[in-house]
Symmetry: C2
Subunit: 401 residues, 2 copies
């Protein structure tokens, strides 16, 4: 079965990348963990220990590197000197050996860089239930350390080294006054075949204390990575890290720019939704609370019926409204108004007399907007979702573990 | 794109059907509501008012016939003389006109049969947001009343008249001593393209008071129709009705047989899951409570990653365990044991050394069993789900409303 592959975004034309953040060096090398021969060990090193904050997966089967990184962040009081990442193997469901391997990766980096182990974080992504090939990982870390550089290419090689089944690299950068905010991510909107790790690394040379990073992270994540509908799965390895080298001094606007960068990365993840042809931004307003709005938006985004309608460019208001109608968080469903690509398609319990063909054509765009307006209160939320087409089934059913 | 259609079950070879229940007459006629020309008005009439109980959709946009039937059941104290059903049009999202039409259908039947309006229930299924063609509906009801019969063919014609996009008719029957339990249903596991109404009608000539029917219905539904994972949608029109003509007198075992019949109908609905190739029965045991077990089973059943793995005959334990690992209801994930088609594939946080090829072959059967064993408590639940393949996308993306 031949199914067309969606177009692939490319690097941001602005020549900014992770290593544009002053005080950071990066590298990505081929260690032979991935069968593809692509880069699979990445290293990010700050010139000195820098403030950092992170959010990790809440999956009960959190992988060994997640447990290790979480412990290190706590032990270091939020100071990080280096981050080591391998792709091709998630080091998840690997028992005591997996825990020892995650620790060994940190120890090796700590020795090479010259810092305490607890200032090193580790992330792994790839197949689960398979032990890490530690000889290759060790050689990869040594090579990555030797290759550390501040060049643009070094930042991009780090990005390439964290990818698994991503259809394209995901990078977003912005300037905040004298400072740079840079971010890279891996993952796909509906989760990668073998479980879908989402990794995101945001860095800025704006000076931000660890406590401020920690305080800002939940809202930043809620508006970006946590606004991507990722099936009902979160992976064993999901990690979002933000760090501040401080080289540019204090800068206003770092948080707004960081949120924009994170949001762009999240959009790219949804866009890379395993055969996705578009990203649909579902905005619920007028819900009883923000939590209610989020729950309603998630319910719509989670519906395979909604997502296949989006794929088919079908302005099937019945699927959207019935998804809303199923949400216990809705108080007064009769007030629902439904606006698709700017066109009112449903209000007061009945469909409007809209132009189906025109709305269908508008749905063929890469960016689709679905606004669901209630009158229960002031709660609002946004969720981005991929559509569901033949390639999703192909990628997920024909991928053999 | 040519995608193979799954095989179609046929009528139960035992020559029992709805009209085998003594005291019931039925008919199904072509009224021209459906473009296909298939039967689309069904009528079920008891010789006298009989005890009945029903559960209806909880969707906020419950259709006019649902509101009307609910009100009638309450007004009649659970006594029903007739049920009228039309397919091809759901009479949902149709405003005040829709309410008047549902009422008019009941009034016409009441006059023909000679009973109070509140002893008539009405169900509609089909497209939503379109007014009923009442001239055709009225002519259909007249014709159906004239065709009422106790023959097997009459029961089957009623069944054919309630179908919409079902790939095959769904019927199940059993004997309980001298009594008959018969059931018919329409609907598909992952919901029909234009919203997925599930209608189920169970009848027995065992004598059961309305209060006993009402008391039994929640557990019966939980073990059958509510154990089918139907996406995250329930339709505006879902209705499950059970009635007892009492012609066979008091009979022990009617509830067990009714539950079996309902469960078989539910299995058929899952089997007809819009291109489904199999039904997977997900059994969670050892959860903290029954509600926890149900929530965990639903989470696994809801996962597009799990369902595509089932379609692909891929023993992808990582998807099953990560779905469980995402459930907040799980206490001790480390104790999870995962048994697929009788083969232990995961325990103590790691995959077993199972024979992937053999398990994959076993997954190609029409009936797949996935047992998820926890040690949090005594809670258990079963959910049946369809797999997710190319035909699901085809049916749902290429269907134009």
């Amino acid at each position: 079965m031949t199914i067309p592959v969606p177009p692939v975004p490319v690097f941001d034309p602005a020549e900014l990348t992770l290593t544009s953040v002053r005080g950071l060096r990066a590298a990505g090398v081929r260690a032979g963990i991935k069968a593809s021969g692509n880069p699979d060990v990445g290293l990010l090193v700050a010139d000195a220990p820098v403030p950092a904050a992170a959010v990790f997966t809440r999956n009960h089967f959190a992988a060994a590197p997640v447990l290790r990184s979480r412990a290190h962040l706590e032990a270091s009081g939020g100071l990080v000197r280096a981050v080591v990442v391998n792709s091709g193997n998630a080091n998840a469901c690997t028992g005591a050996q997996g825990e020892a391997d995650a620790r060994a990766m940190c120890a090796q980096v700590a020795q090479l860089v010259g810092c305490p182990e607890h200032q090193v974080l580790v992330c792994s992504t790839g197949v689960i239930g398979v032990k890490l090939p530690m000889d290759r990982v060790r050689a990869g870390i040594t090579a990555a350390h030797a290759a550390l550089s501040r060049e643009v290419e070094a930042g991009r090689s780090f990005l390439l080294a964290i990818m698994t089944t991503d259809a394209f690299p995901k990078e977003a950068c912005a300037r905040a006054g004298a400072a740079v905010v840079a971010g890279v991510a891996k993952g796909a909107g509906m989760i990668q075949p073998n479980m879908a790790t989402m990794l995101g690394f945001l860095a800025t040379d704006a000076a931000v204390p660890a406590a401020a990073l920690r305080a800002a992270l939940p809202a930043l994540a809620a508006k970006s990575f946590n606004a991507v509908h990722v099936d009902t799965h979160t992976s064993t390895n999901d990690t979002l890290l933000v760090l501040s080298t401080g080289a540019a001094g204090e800068v206003s606007g770092w948080l707004d720019r960081s949120t924009e960068v994170a949001r762009r990365l999240a959009w790219l993840i949804a866009r890379d939704g395993e055969g996705a042809t578009k990203v649909t931004t579902i905005e619920v307003t007028g819900a009883a609370s923000e939590a209610a709005a989020k729950a309603i938006a998630e319910r719509v985004a989670a519906s395979a019926l909604v997502r296949t309608a989006l794929y088919g460019n079908d302005p099937n208001w019945g699927r959207f409204t019935s998804a809303v109608g199923n949400a216990p968080e809705v108080k007064n469903a009769a007030a629902l108004r439904c606006v698709l690509q700017g066109v009112e398609v449903f209000r007061a319990g009945e469909p409007t007399d809209f132009d189906r063909a025109a709305v269908s054509r508008a749905m063929a765009r890469e960016d689709v907007s679905l606004a669901l307006e209630l009158r229960d209160g002031q709660g609002a939320a946004v969720v981005m979702t991929s559509d569901l087409g033949y390639r999703y089934v192909q990628v997920n059913a024909e991928y053999t573990t």
